[in-house]
Amino acid sequence: MTAATHFRTCPTTGLKIDRSAENLIKANAVVAVVFLLIGGLFGLSIALTRWPAVHLLPADWFYLALTAHGFDVLLAWIIFFEMAVLYFASAILLNSRIAAPRWGWAQFWLMLVGALMTNVAVLQGNSSVMFTSYPPLVAAPHFYLGLVLFAVGALIGCAVFFGTLVVARDEKTYQGSVPLVTFGAITAAIIAVFTLACGAIILIPTFLWSIGIISGVDPLMYKLVWWGMGHSSQQINVAAHVAVWYAIGAMVLGAKPISEKVSRMAFLMYILFLQLASAHHLLVEPGVSSSWKIFNTSYAMYLAVLGSMIHGMTVPGAIEAAQRAKGFNKGLFEWLRKAPWGNPAFAGMFLSLVMFGFLGGISGVVMGTEQINLIIHNTIYVPGHFHATVVAGTTLAFMAITYLLVPLIFRREVMFKKVAQWQPYVFGLGIAGISLFMMGAGTLGVPRRHWDITFADALSQFQFSPAAFLMLALNGLSAIVAAIGGAMYIIVVVCSVFLGRKIGDNEVVQLGPVSGAASAAAVARYGNEGTLKIPGTVVLVAVFFVSFVLYYFVNWKYLAEVWPLK
């Protein structure tokens, strides 16, 4: 099984690469990017429809596009890419052969067939039930069946990942503990098993209901279990993109965690507490008690938030320590000023880190507060929040690591270097705008998933403030900027993968300021950073903390102004 011909040795990092794992990574990553393109176009059409002056799509197409957008980017793009990340973090980083590559292909084909089936159902027009498909709203049976196949495929991918960990340990392809990046991927995979099982558990009866075998699905129970998939799958993203942050820091700058113990504990908190987040979607529902809401919405006293706040210090801290070790010691921020901002992998990673924390993280905790949720629930503030986490956080991080995977795994040189350099900034700017303006409109009460806030065809009228219309227009403009950034990414990646200069078998690629060997050592082994002075990070974290506290209490003040309820 471990015949030498199955492997090649990467000239840049010295890692031993299993060709079957490499092919699986390529296949999953390529399909992921295709779904990003499709879902992204749907997204742009939605933003342009919600811009009242443009109002691009008719109502039925708008709701169809919204359903497709949710599935294609939130599930298909991200989970296909995560499968690539799992194979990378197991077989590649551990120098191991991949366990059961045939099952790996089963994962790929099942997910692809499932994703296509659901897309077909949506495009046929009778499954515009939104990505969430809350009963008693009913979709065509193959809408649910596609989702179930997709979830089962992804579960198989997780099994192959765990199998590879066992193989690597048995065959002693690494010594001691797994590297931190792999540890993060394990976190993601454990959460994924919970998530995908929830999806299957609720979608199978819903499928049976849609073909008339069972008589009904309780809407509240559906919501509780469905969000065990819907929200927890976003926690897979968090774990995966935090792992990607560490990987990029390591590969580009040779950064090592400030202390392994702390970073791993933070991942452990994700495993233990992140699954409670289904409650975020049930804060204004009937039939759920306040004590249940308070415990679950806070992830058991905010212990999972604590995990993210720790990564929020250790990731920039690791980068600062690595930079200071290279001599960028002047003042508080020379290490940051002289960071490789022209390297799209680093720029994308750092923007992802900052926007995930400031925009996505803070808004998420605030709107997940039991009582504050009632001034935010189902307003367009909600998509504002999750575009900051899933797009600015996860998608931008995945885009960033693509710039490293193209030379290392696809073994092609990245083309259009200037375009690639600007891509994270253009995309990041667009997404920041989308998130902020949607949150702004949501604060003014604008509903999400709504075709016409002028209510032209409604039986009774209501007028939103002109500021709400302005926010939606700015959101539309931001979506155009983001779409340009997304197109830049797709053009660079697709052209590089198919037309880029082939990298020779013995050719060493320069990933960043540090040598490839140093990159590999940083990413594929564990150990604490020696340097202990990170004053710049302390300042950044303090700014974050003050913003968090202020914004949190501002929202309590907003809440205190609405009609008394009890």
Binding site: P286, L306, L459, P564
Partner: protein, 178 residues
């Protein structure tokens, strides 16, 4: 090379002081946010009740009809405007595609507002006050509400409920007690 042998005993290495301080600060902040929710249940004026019942759509529609028959004060287009006595139980029903009926409430008075749907899930979004509650078929929830401003307030549906979702609206009037 790729894998160099690990530094033994990384789990025994002390935690960097600055990290430790941040962990403690973040942990305490989390506790603070946790107890803030409980504190608000004691002192805050905006809390949701835990009162809810299972009910069939037909039974709920009957309750709404009874209130409408008894207290309708005028008609506005398709909607009856209902003015139940202050302090009483008032009913609002979600259905495709309207919030039924319109209510007229008195400022400063307290009402027990019942919410349910007779078909799909709907989102009760009172604007521009910005109170947003989820409404399920088969469940009747009750929230005690005290309007503290007069005027005309829109109810928008903010849970997707089919191709006519964006036409689903309703209204609550709040008037001074004359």
């Amino acid at each position: 090379m790729g894998i160099a042998s690990p530094r033994a005993g990384w789990w025994k290495e002390p935690i960097h002081k600055v990290e430790l301080i941040w962990i403690i600060v973040a942990f305490l902040w989390g506790l603070g946010m946790f107890f803030m929710m409980i504190y608000w249940h004691g002192v805050g004026n905006q809390n949701l009740s835990n009162e809810a019942y299972r009910i069939t759509p037909a039974a709920y529609a009957a309750k709404v009809d009874k209130m409408t028959e008894e207290y309708t004060v005028r008609q506005e287009g398709a909607f009856p405007v209902v003015r139940p006595p202050p302090g009483s139980d008032v009913y609002m029903m979600g259905r495709v595609y309207m919030w039924w009926p319109m209510l007229e409430l008195v400022k400063g008075e307290t009402y027990r507002l019942h919410l349910s749907s007779i078909d799909l899930q709907h989102g009760f979004s009172l604007q521009p006050v910005n109170i947003n509650l989820q409404v399920h078929p088969g469940y009747e929830s009750v929230v005690t509400m005290t309007p503290n401003q007069t005027g005309q307030f829109g109810i928008v549906c903010n849970e997707y409920c089919g191709f006519g979702h964006h036409t689903m609206t309703g209204r609550i009037y709040v008037v001074d007690n004359k």
